[in-house]
């Protein structure tokens, strides 16, 4: 299994940002993304997913390190201050490196 190295960027943030983030990610060079619904708690309190204003999304992007850095810089600049958001990186192996 000769898996190539990539970064998995996981973003957990407010559902209101879904459309904007999707556009940002593609503009920043990601070849794809995956989104699922989530709820949670953090420094901005409980987000319980009962209704729109209170639900989270969990966004995953597999990409190379350079794009991961661009994504994190962009999010830090535009969203970190005002939105409930966390972001973390994981090292992952992929099989079809040309896809990511």
């Amino acid at each position: 299994m000769q898996a190539d190295d990539r970064k998995l960027v996981t973003i957990i943030t407010e559902a209101a940002l879904e459309r904007r983030l999707a556009e940002d990610l593609k503009r920043l060079g990601a070849h794809g993304y995956t989104i699922s619904d989530a709820r949670g708690e953090g420094s901005r309190g409980v987000r319980s997913a009962g209704w729109d204003a209170s639900s989270n999304i969990r966004v995953e992007v597999v990409c190379d390190a350079a794009i991961a850095a661009k994504i994190s810089a962009h999010l830090r600049q535009h969203y970190y201050d005002h939105y409930a958001m966390i972001l973390f990186f994981t090292d992952v192996g992929v099989l079809r490196p040309e896809k990511f």
């Binding site: 209101a16 309190g45 409980v46 009962g50 209704w51 204003a53 209170s54 639900s55 201050d81 939105y83």
Partner: protein, 315 residues
């Protein structure tokens, strides 16, 4: 009539269950389903009624109502800044919430009138739609000034194509084009179930409102005072405008309710994107944690009394 509307009791049930930390919770998709039905039903009903009116005759009323939507946030803003000492963005955002309207509150008020067989101008959903948006624009201008680098085009897209507007306006248009008779077959869902769906919706809103109590405690008395007093002022303005425009007492009351209510669907979403630096907890605490329960539990009968009073003074 025992005098206690069961749909209000559903709201109380949600509130009590939420405050007691019950694990009762409606799934998010069900909340969306219920609000889609409510928004479409309100739109359809208003549209079917519009079909009977000449839009030309309604124009003065429409303009007056839009004007009210522009002015209400301009009154709220200085109060929030001076008395509440809120930051500019927060004051502007809350002002926008209170200039706009709450569809849930409107629905409960209509149910209240219907249960008492009090007539009203049934094209009122048109006014509801007209009041949704102007306050958003005013709020953004208050926060950013006119020279703002706000992306108006993008924002216009968000606001006009946000789901609550699309469903309300879509419902209005469908109702208008199809007319009352052709709507009958879909009435089983949209009209026959209206009260029941509203009851479940209020149950969920009770749970949501209960979740705001924590932040209520943190943000002190001012939000509570504002969340009760500004609606009273709004009701006076709305009721008075209704009188001027020659509405029935029921219609005056509904206009009072619209002016007294604060948005918690369309405006929060728009503010999140247009004024991200405004703290959403403040505006939602006021609109959902204070004003919505106040209007549902106390305000609606009060505003009807007010409308009757105004009628006598005016008439």
């Amino acid at each position: 009539m025992s005098g206690i509307d069961p749909i209000v009791l559903f709201f109380l049930l949600g509130l009590v269950a939420g405050l007691g930390r019950s694990d009762l919770r409606l799934p998010g998709s069900i909340y969306e389903f219920l609000s889609v039905i409510l928004l479409l039903a309100i739109g359809l009903k208003g549209g079917a009624e519009l079909a009977k009116q000449s839009l030309g005759d309604l124009l003065p009323q429409m303009l007056a109502v839009i004007l009210m939507g522009l002015l209400l946030p301009l009154v709220a803003y200085p109060l929030l800044r001076r008395l509440g000492r809120l930051r500019r963005a927060d004051a502007a955002s809350i002002a926008a919430h209170y200039g706009s309207v709450s569809v849930g509150t409107y629905a409960v008020a209509v149910a209240w009138l219907v249960a008492r067989e009090i007539p009203y101008e049934e094209y009122m959903p048109l006014m509801l739609v007209l009041l949704e948006m102007p306050a958003i624009v005013v709020g953004i201008l208050l926060a950013r000034g006119v020279s703002a680098d706000t992306k108006w085009k993008e924002l216009g897209h968000e606001v006009f194509l946000g789901k609550s507007i699309v469903l309300l306006v879509g419902g209005l248009l469908i109702g208008w084009v199809a007319g009352p008779e052709a709507l009958e077959p879909v009435g089983g869902l949209f009209f026959g179930l209206f009260h029941g769906v509203l009851a479940l919706f209020l149950l969920e809103m009770g749970l949501v409102a209960a979740g705001q109590v924590g932040s209520l405690r943190r943000h002190g008395l001012f939000l509570v005072a504002f969340g009760i007093l500004f609606p009273l002022f709004g009701a006076l303005v709305g009721g008075g405008l209704g009188l001027l425009l020659g509405f029935s007492t029921g219609g005056m009351m509904l206009l009072a309710v619209l002016a007294a209510s604060a948005s918690y669907i369309a405006v929060p979403a728009a503010m999140r994107l247009a004024l991200p630096e405004a703290n959403p907890t403040l505006s939602l605490t006021a609109s959902l944690g204070v004003t919505f329960p106040f209007n549902i539990l106390v305000g609606i009968p009060l505003y009807y009394g007010l409308a009757e009073q105004l009628r006598q003074l005016g008439g």
